[in-house]
């Protein structure tokens, strides 16, 4: 009888309370967990034999896949318009290059057009105003392709943002996290949008309707008849020849649920804010009945298995409604908080229970039964995350499912770690629990129940992200307690198809792989339990592809036992010939006073069924299956030709669609390309001067260079005569006070110059000198390894020049000893600068100047020399120079330094291009090496403004 409750449940501890510390995650392998005895009546005369049976029984029905991979059911219909973002991309934590950094690197050349442009735009405030107005109006900057807007954007950069870039960056960061979490787990798909609704079943065929969403945005609802039959080789085969009936909906379809009541199937469809009902039967085409709009995001829809035309829906605000067609919505319950603890999660679920007026209401913390009879509501806990269910910390309800057809009192509940079967007659204590060990939480589940009760029920769990499919088997729940059968079995995932496909071009391969990796959106099963037993599993991916795999029942009585001899004791007592332990008449020994006859009924039914099976299968057929199974056990197997053909067909259809789309989407890409056309427009060159061929040529070349995104310099733009280095202004030639002051001002030391001039800082200087002496003494007392090391290295090997980090470290150590560094250093140095009088262009004179300085300094203070003196380094000088000028100079110098010095330019050029290398070192070095050294030091200078590399040379020289 259906309503029986197991007479004796398996023993277990009960511990209400919060979940325990997380135990080691070992999965559910190799455990019996609990055991209890049953008496098995062996025959009429023999006495009852005692059999012990474990909660996790070893036996199982073995199901073998017909094909080693899941096969596409239909050719690809859709193509994704945008490349989906991957999880890895969203979790990338490397340094992200900002636009500014890029510019510095790519547009390092002295770009005077920038200046010109700036001047131009700076003048026309009107443009700016219109532009800023327009920016507000336009939603997508890509489509508002005004040239001026782009140019202005380049100019204004940060100032045009509505949101400060920093804030924007944080928001984007946040959004990336949300997107990432959504990729990992998107609760809107809970329940799945794929349903198989059986109509008629025969011994060798079955007809039903597959209901699934289609089109690019998954907003068209398809009803498609499918038929399971036998092909010419008597193997089960699906045919999809019928045309689907389509309905175009307003939003993406997230969930489809159906129930057959009184031979009419009611189909509930949920999208974000709409829920709809369709009705169909075998004869009648589907028709839409009613649609409701929700104010909050709908999270669940379920169709009543009891009363036709009743549904329940739940929404994110926490309300659950009973929806009776033609009568409208009726609130069942509303909870603003979570049920059992404050998890603050908006997801809600509701479903029907064994009683048509009691509803199940669930959130992430647990399940509740809500009784709405006679107005008053009364709630009862059905399941809660906690120690009673042996939950782990952090575990949450993912999908609750009322097992209508299997046992109306049972619920399947999945969490990240486990799957539970809960009986509503014995709430809070799950009657069965598996550790499913899936990578991502199972969000789709189907439970197939054979018509005959003594067969195992099959649970197929599907996950969203990794598209894993897991098969679990269990039985019981009526006379006998629930028992799990065999370890979980993983079915092949969609992606497994890849390894059997012909080799393709890499980019095609990539596109196909990406497509096959897309998230799951639904799972359906077709369990044909008559004749040749098959279990077909359909999978729907988020991009609308349908795949299926078919499993056939392997009869272990034929091949298993004959192989292993009788001499060997078999593992597990339950290896019965037909593999279904429950077909034995089993009853609790304690209950022997009251013999139960229902079991016997079951037995009789089971026998009858088996007989029917045997008679229906021809001997030849049986053999075929067997030979097939033998083949399939000899792994690794390859898919059949038909399956491969299906895969190929799918791929071809997909690639064709993809190609068509790509050519169509070129327009889209054009918008996003930064046009260089406008940078040097013909007009600007024509302006003021007569246009002639030379200008035209220059313009063309320039454009070509720009389009290639190359730096406009000598090598890429040979048409220009190489610009000779402008004559340098030697400040030492200008000895008058004004010139000196100007030089100082140019270096940003105007105030210091005055201080020097007026002698304000004399005391400080003296102090600084004392401090320096003290420091030197200390340094001498200590080790000088850093110094000598830098010395030897600089002499012996030029390449060590780039490695100045060691030096700068030692300098830091040094500076820690003295207290002069903060304010006084500049004074000391500026003292010398009066001697040196270097302007920015004195690079050619440098070595000479240096020597001068050296001598001067040594005259003034001989013992001071070990102190690194950055005065001569250009970088240091740049530091002092006002920003705007520095920038132009840097660009300029960088561009010049871009191309290697040419021998024709003579010594001057070389010495100029090597401002950091002393003459002695230069003699060792070959030009190319020097260039690289130089480049490196420049690079380092751009990286850290503080790192003066010049002193290295000085120190090296000091050794001489």
């Amino acid at each position: 009888m259906d309503s029986a409750f197991p007479y004796s449940l398996f023993p277990s501890f009960y511990d209400p309370g919060p979940p325990d510390r997380n135990p080691l995650d070992l999965g559910g392998w190799g455990k019996y967990e609990h055991v209890q005895p049953f008496s098995v009546e062996a025959g009429e005369q023999q006495e009852a034999e005692l059999k012990w049976s474990a909660l996790k029984s070893l036996t199982q029905e073995s199901w073998e896949p017909l094909e080693p991979v899941a096969v596409p059911l239909l050719p690809a219909k859709t193509v994704c318009k945008f490349r989906p973002v991957s999880l890895e991309e969203l979790t990338y934590t490397g340094r992200i290059m900002t636009a500014g950094e890029r510019d510095e690197m790519t547009m390092g050349a002295l770009n005077f057009t920038e200046q010109g442009k700036a001047r131009q735009t700076a003048i026309s405030v009107n443009h700016l105003r219109t532009f800023t107005e327009r920016v507000k109006q336009r939603e997508c900057p890509l489509s508002s392709g005004s040239k001026r807007a782009r140019l202005l954007n380049l100019l204004l950069r940060e100032s045009v943002f509505d949101i400060p870039p920093n804030l924007l960056a944080e928001n984007i960061h946040e959004e990336m996290k949300i997107q990432r979490n959504k990729l990992l787990f998107d609760h809107s798909a809970t329940g799945g949008a794929l349903v198989y609704c059986p109509f008629s079943k025969g011994v060798h065929f079955e007809e039903g309707c597959l209901i699934y969403p289609g089109s690019e945005s998954m907003n068209s609802l398809n009803f498609r008849k499918i038929k399971l039959g036998l092909d010419d080789d008597k193997m089960p085969k699906l045919s999809m020849k019928f045309k689907p009936v389509k309905f175009k909906l307003n939003g993406r379809i997230h969930q489809i649920d159906y129930s057959t009541v009184e031979e009419e199937a009611y189909v509930g469809v949920r999208s974000d804010y709409h829920c709809g009902v369709w009705k169909l039967s075998q004869e009648v085409n589907p028709s839409a009945l009613q649609v409701v709009q929700m104010a909050n995001m709908a999270t669940c829809i379920n169709v009543s298995p009891h009363v036709p035309g009743e549904l329940v829906i739940a929404s994110e605000c926490g309300a659950a409604y009973l929806w009776i067609l033609d009568k409208g919505l009726q609130k069942i319950r509303k909870e603003t908080d979570n049920l059992y603890f404050n998890a603050q999660l908006p997801w809600r679920w509701c479903d029907f229970t064994a009683h048509p007026r009691v509803y199940m209401y669930a959130d992430r913390t647990g399940l509740d039964l809500t009784d709405v009879r006679a107005g008053e509501t009364c709630n009862q806990t059905l399941f809660k995350i906690g120690a009673a269910a042996d939950c782990q910390r952090g575990e949450r309800v993912i999908l609750p499912k009322h097992l209508r057809d299997v046992n109306p009192y049972h619920y399947l509940i999945t969490t990240q770690n486990s799957a539970y079967i809960v009986d509503e007659r014995f709430p809070t204590v799950p009657v069965l629990k598996w550790v499913h060990m899936m990578e991502s939480p199972p969000m789709f589940a189907q439970v197939a129940c054979g018509t005959v009760r003594n067969r195992t029920n099959k649970i197929v769990l599907g996950s969203q992200r990794a598209q894993e499919v897991l098969l679990l088997q269990y039985s019981g729940g009526m006379q006998l307690p629930c028992q799990s059968f065999g370890p979980p079995q993983k079915l092949s995932s969609i992606y497994d198809m890849m390894q059997h496909l012909p080799v393709r071009l890499p980019h095609q391969h990539e596109v196909v792989a990406e497509r096959l990796h897309s998230a799951g959106a639904g799972l359906a099963t077709l369990y044909h339990c008559r004749g040749k037993k098959t279990l077909s599993v359909f999978q729907l991916s988020a991009v609308g592809d349908l795949f299926y795999q078919m499993l056939v029942r392997k009869n272990s009585s034929a091949n298993g036992q004959s192989v292993s001899g009788a001499s060997r004791a078999r593992v597990g007592s339950n290896h019965e010939p037909n593999n279904s332990i429950l077909s034995k008449e089993v009853q609790s020994i304690n209950h022997s006073t009251e013999p139960r006859l229902e079991g016997a009924e079951d037995l009789a039914q089971g026998e009858g069924e088996r007989l029917e099976v045997n008679s229906s299968l021809s001997g030849v057929d049986e053999q075929r299956v067997q030979s097939f199974i033998k083949q399939s056990t000899n792994k690794p197997s390859t898919p059949s030709c038909a399956a491969l053909a299906m895969c190929r067909r799918w791929i071809n259809s997909f690639l064709k669609k993809q190609k068509k789309f790509q050519s169509g989407s070129d327009m889209l890409h054009k918008h996003s390309v930064f046009s260089t056309k406008r940078l040097f427009s013909c007009k600007r060159f024509k302006k003021g001067k007569e246009s002639n061929d030379a200008y035209k040529e220059v313009w063309d070349k320039m454009k070509a260079v720009m389009e290639k995104k190359e730096v406009l310099c000598h090598s890429t733009f040979p048409i220009l005569d190489s610009v000779s280095v402008p004559d340098l202004v030697d400040p030492s030639m200008w000895r008058d006070e004004l010139s000196e002051r100007l030089t100082a001002a140019w270096e940003g030391k105007w105030s210091e110059w005055w201080a020097e001039k007026l002698g304000v800082n004399r005391d400080k200087k003296i102090q600084a000198l004392r401090a320096k002496r003290r420091r030197e003494k200390l340094a001498r007392a200590g080790q000088r390894s850093g110094l000598s090391g830098s010395f030897t290295s600089s002499v012996s090997n030029l390449s060590d020049f780039s490695d100045f980090s060691g030096w700068s470290r030692s300098s830091v150590v040094d500076s820690e000893h003295g207290d002069y560094l903060s304010g006084t250093e500049s004074n000391v140095l500026s003292n010398k600068s009066t001697e040196v009088k270097q302007s920015i262009g004195t690079v050619t004179e440098e070595s000479r100047q240096e020597r001068e300085v050296q001598s001067n300094v040594s005259v003034v203070e001989q013992s001071r020399t070990p102190m690194p003196e950055p005065i001569l380094s250009q970088e240091i000088r740049l530091v002092g120079i006002p920003k705007e000028r520095k920038r132009i100079l840097q660009n300029y110098l960088a561009a010049l330094e871009d191309h290697p010095p040419q021998p024709s330019e003579g010594d001057d050029g070389i010495s100029w291009s090597l401002p950091l290398a002393s003459s002695t070192q230069m003699s060792f070095a070959e030009p190319s090496q020097m260039a690289s050294t130089c480049e490196m030091s420049w690079l380092s200078s751009s990286q850290s403004q503080l790192g003066p590399s010049q002193p290295k040379k000085k120190r090296a020289r000091m050794g001489f």
Binding site: M1, S3, F5, Y7, S8, L9, F10, P11, S12, Y14, D25, L26, G27, W29, G30, K31, Y32, E33, V35, Q36, P37, W52, L87, E88, T91, Y92, T93, G94, I96, N166, E170, E174, K177, R180, N181, L184, F185, E263, H306, V307, P308, R364, A388, G394, Q416, R425, F426, T428, E439, S440, P441, P487, Q489, S564, A569, V571, N574, N590, H591, K635
Partner: protein, 500 residues
């Protein structure tokens, strides 16, 4: 059939444990993830994606598998971040040595094979995983021991060529993987023996485990110990049952000698002490309770047994187990307790599980009573039963309902029916009395359909669809009966009542 190679692997699996052989050295395998951490530069401060940071941290601290979770700050639930995420990061990960990665890869492959039920492949891979026992952290070693125990057991249980001796020796080895797991291993092994019909060996195993002592016991160990005790006592009980039935048979021939009686009493004592202890803790102890009560009952411990059952049913520390009430009811019924007490027990069960099979007995008990209150309650119990889909097409229940409704009407208590009907009038018509169901019921069983039609008529008047259809269909077959029924409905329907 059995290849030598495979035998070797199985041999490895069973005999070369734990960690007796030195395998590859763990040094010299370069760590690929030595690069510096990369940072996310936002708003002037250095900030790494905290989730990834957590991922790394979790991975460093994880005991067994390299897994991390998304933090609860934004994600709905704690989830595993796939480790592929880390491949794209320049993450410093000192602990993640090549040695461990090798072991983890091996374990993953074992998992994969086991998931696909490729026991041969799994058995071949398993000996390679043993090298994890050489890991330099004790924590890892300890967890590895458990992994080997569980995976090894699973493989041996399902491998087509494994035999019971393999499992025995493997379980023996596994007992030494750690003090903490000794009891668990023993219990699982004992259950294995029990399932294979080796009750005596299982008994020995359980007794040994029960007397095992080692230092302080953790809470989980206590629990396992209690289970061991319970199962051991259960075996004692079944031995007692077997012996007892033998003794009972012989009772006819001659008197029981004192030796046998003493032996029986020993079994009884052992079993009852063990069972008594086992059922003290809150939990589901159906088999233990049944055995314990049977034992007590046999030795005339009625009071004691009643106490145990009452405790099991009414102690609030225990979960609301319907069976507890069922056992109590059956025990009381067996001892001929007064119907009043029986009703009391069943009333509690009625509150818990209104769809329980015993509700039919409850109904008849209530009817036997003289009180009108009970008759009214009986009607309610029947209505409640019919609310459930599993009772929906239960002929006898409908038959009872017809009888009792007629009785109630005859007694002048149509209001009882009305009271029940008011709770159900919005959904019973669609649930029980639809057109489809009328046709179907009539096809399947005419008299049943007629009975149901009469109830429908009484509840909803003769105008209701179900009644009309059945009447129309049935008129052709048994005209007189239907006419009579129609008249009855006309006179006694609730509509009639409300009109009056």
């Amino acid at each position: 059939m059995v290849s030598n190679g495979l035998k070797n692997h199985l041999y490895h699996l069973v005999h070369l444990l734990p960690g007796l052989h030195k395998l590859t050295s763990k040094k010299g395998i370069p760590s690929l993830l030595e690069d510096k951490l990369s940072w996310f530069h936002i708003n002037g401060e250095l900030k790494m994606d905290d989730e990834v940071a957590e991922l790394i941290e979790e991975r460093d601290h994880s005991t067994d598998e390299e897994r991390a979770w998304t933090s609860s700050s934004h994600s709905e639930i704690r989830l595993h971040l796939p480790t592929s995420v880390l491949q794209f990061q320049n993450v410093k990960d000192g602990k993640q040595t090549g040695f461990r990665r090798t072991a983890q890869t091996c374990l993953n492959r074992i998992h994969k094979a086991v998931f696909h039920h490729q026991w041969h492949t799994a058995a071949e891979l398993m000996p390679n995983y043993f090298q994890i026992l050489e890991d330099n952290t004790t924590r890892k070693q300890r967890s590895a021991g458990q992994v080997i125990w569980r995976m090894g057991t699973a493989i041996l249980q399902h491998h087509p060529n494994s035999c019971i001796e393999d499992i025995n020796s493997f379980a023996g080895k596994m007992k030494s993987i750690g003090v903490k797991h000794y009891l668990k291993v023993c219990l699982e092994y004992a259950i294995h023996l029990l399932c294979n019909g080796k009750m005596d060996e299982a008994y020995r195993e359980l007794s040994l485990a029960e007397t095992w002592r080692y230092g302080e016991q953790s809470a989980s160990q206590q629990k396992v110990l209690k289970l061991i005790q319970g199962y051991r006592a259960l075996i004692d009980y079944y031995t007692w049952v077997k012996k007892n039935s033998g003794v009972q048979e012989r009772v006819g021939d001659d008197a029981v000698d004192s030796g046998t009686a003493q032996e029986m009493h020993n079994y009884f004592r052992q079993a009852s002490i063990g069972l008594h202890d086992a059922v003290q803790n809150p939990g589901v102890w159906d088999p233990f309770i049944l055995s314990y009560v049977n034992l007590l009952d046999f030795y005339d411990g009625f009071e004691e047994a009643l106490k145990v059952l009452n405790n099991y049913a009414y102690d609030s520390r225990f979960p609301p187990n319907p069976n507890a009430h069922v056992y109590l009811y059956e025990f009381l019924k067996k001892h001929g307790t007064s119907p009043k007490k029986l009703m009391k027990v069943l009333r509690v069960l009625y509150q818990l599980v209104p769809s329980h099979e015993l509700m039919l007995e409850f109904n008849s008990l209530l009817l036997e009573s003289k009180k009108k209150k009970h008759h009214k309650e009986a009607l309610g119990v029947l209505f409640c039963l019919l609310d459930f889909p599993t009772w929906k097409e239960n002929y006898s229940t409908w038959k009872c309902l017809t009888k009792q409704m007629k009785h109630a009407i005859a007694e002048g208590h149509s209001d009882w029916i009305k009271e029940q009907w008011e709770l159900r009038q919005d959904w019973w018509p669609a649930f029980h009395f639809s057109e489809y169901r009328a046709h179907k019921n009539f096809e399947e069983n005419e008299s049943y359909a007629c009975r149901k039609a009469m109830i429908a008529g009484i509840l909803m008047g003769k105008g209701c669809k179900y009644f009309i259809i059945v009447y129309r269909l049935g008129r052709k077959v048994q005209k007189a009966k239907l006419k009579k029924m129609r008249q009855y409905v006309k006179d006694h329907s609730l509509l009639q009542l409300s009109e009056c």
